[in-house]
Symmetry: C2
Subunit: 343 residues, 2 copies
């Protein structure tokens, strides 16, 4: 298995992606190879810093251009044919890599993946699937930004894809699927959620009904489905709230020597909490529904997040997430085409 990694995407390049790649090579199972995609001279130079690193499983693939974080995805797609994103996706399209990971411009990674790899047959819209930490384990939330103005059929497919990802990559045996809404009753919500609730209830999924925003973090469901607008709002809000609280706490602590001493005593607890709620642990957000494996990481991802995205990509390929999605969507369509459930 070969996994391509964009080392020119993210806030600190190429250092952070390369450090993540080295961690993955050193710490994970040895059944994959990495393609580092970007400026070959810089990559080779940076790799030399790691004394004694076994580079036999690392290949460097040159890409002359970089898509900037603020750049328009459609412009990047049109003009930068040699960007690390374009080259990385092309490796997959040509069968030279099995997966692609990038912490670069999300829109560009999404557009290039869709253009270069296409959709899985039967899937109407791909979705970005984010793995949220919960008090007990983790929860897959999708869509978190690939789509807006979704229709019920899209949300049904997101639920199927999220459920398969939870099973095949996170190892949940019968993932509980919740529909994000504003009340538990099936009648609560907007037109989209009320109609989707009926589709999900009639599906073979382990649908547990509507869930509310806070339920995500309490592990009420293994998969939470929503339109990409509300999913993206939830994602950005959640990321920021933790930082905000910790920042506020630190400012208050600075002002008091007693509090500073208390903080030192609590350091282990804070470190543990940071790890529990740290997005870096959960390794990027797969773009589900494309005919390939693309994992999108946060621009500010630390090396550990890149390492964990490689771990997720490896499992997605190994456990044939796309093949299962393709089969289950086909089966479900065949079942329902006879009685018009999906019309």
């Amino acid at each position: 298995m070969k996994i391509a990694l964009d080392v020119m995407g993210g806030d600190q390049i190429p250092s952070v992606p390369i450090k993540g790649a080295v961690q993955a090579i050193q710490e994970l199972e040895a059944d994959f190879e990495l393609c580092l995609v970007g400026d070959d001279t810089r990559i080779a130079g940076y790799l030399e810093r790691f004394d004694g690193l076994d580079t036999s499983r690392i290949e460097i693939v040159h890409a002359a251009e970089v898509v900037e974080m603020g750049e328009s995805p459609s412009a990047a797609l049109r003009k930068k044919k040699n960007s690390s994103i374009a080259v990385g996706i092309a490796l997959q399209a040509e069968g030279k890599a099995d997966a692609f990971i990038s912490a670069g411009n999300t829109g560009a990674v999404m557009a290039t993946s869709l253009r270069g790899l296409g959709r899985i047959g039967g899937i109407v819209r791909p979705a970005i699937c984010s793995v949220f930490p919960t008090t007990s384990s983790s929860c897959v939330v999708l869509d978190v930004g690939a789509n807006v103005d979704s229709k019920p059929i899209h949300l049904l497919q997101f639920a199927m894809m999220g459920s398969i990802y939870s099973r095949q990559v996170l190892g949940t045996s019968s993932p509980r699927v919740g529909l994000l809404s504003i009340g538990e009753e099936p009648s609560k919500g907007d037109e989209l959620t009320v109609a989707t609730n009926k589709l999900l209830a009639a599906s073979p999924l382990n649908f547990i009904g509507n869930v509310e925003g806070g339920d995500i973090f309490e592990g009420e469901a293994d998969v939470v489905v929503c339109d990409g607008f509300v999913g993206n709002v939830v994602l950005k809000l959640s990321e920021r709230v933790l930082n905000l609280l910790v920042g506020h706490l630190k400012n208050q602590i600075k002002a008091s020597p007693l509090a500073a001493m208390g903080f030192l005593m609590l350091k282990g607890v804070f470190d543990d909490m940071k790890q529990t709620f740290d997005y870096a642990e959960y390794g990027g957000a797969p773009l589900l529904g494309i005919d390939g494996t693309t994992i999108i990481c946060h621009g500010g991802s630390p090396p550990r997040a890149i390492r964990n995205a490689i771990r997720s990509a490896r499992l997605a390929v190994l456990n044939k997430v796309n093949k299962v999605i393709s089969e289950e969507v086909k089966n479900y369509q065949m079942e329902n085409s006879t009685n018009g459930n999906l019309s």
Copy 2:
């Protein structure tokens, strides 16, 4: 001025609402009277616990029925004509009270207010307006649950009403209005937000453009406008995240004597943080757009939240929020009817 308070609404009745009422009488300006609405015998009995309380500004109004928290709002409206909610709203409708506050069944308070008081002329849909804490001050978010499937004209009116509430009740001189979306550019978002962005940009409001979920807490805007579906998800998520983090912290601390000592040293800091981010400080959510003053409190509101809701109701009446809304909506409609901006 007379403010009616539902003492039968909330998780602990009538104790918590009555305690809040007593705090308001003792601590706030003395220019208002309170009507405590509920079981008159229980209210009179509970009031006796407060030795030396001056009850000259407190009136008891009997209401024989109680709307339960889980009850269907439409059923409550139809069947419980003598509920504390129905009696409290009727006091306003008959001109015997200027405002009504309840921590009871939100749907029932909303439906009864709308039925009993009607809308302000020109307002298409009322909205529930929640006051969020921010690192610097507070931010008014609306709608947080009165509406789903909103149209751009509704969001424009929410922005006008939120802006007036921020100015007249919270004292913000020229409230910065943000539109909740998934990116700063006007083109980012779903159909609703893209269309609303144009309406807001053309309005006389101090519109600062799109904001993201996390911006709410960082005080980027004084007013954040959204459809009630996403607003309700954000509200419930935010309330729960803080509790979740503090709960997690406490569990970890219990397991370690050193951490427990550190926690004691940090107690002042935690108390301060709790106060900064405590919803109780911000005194309930007004239902804006109805031809009256209704403030909805969280079912779990402590006495301080009830006291602060009374403070907000007093300011809303004193500073004529509804009169200003009525005038500004009328002016804006007249301005735009000539050039078809709102068609």
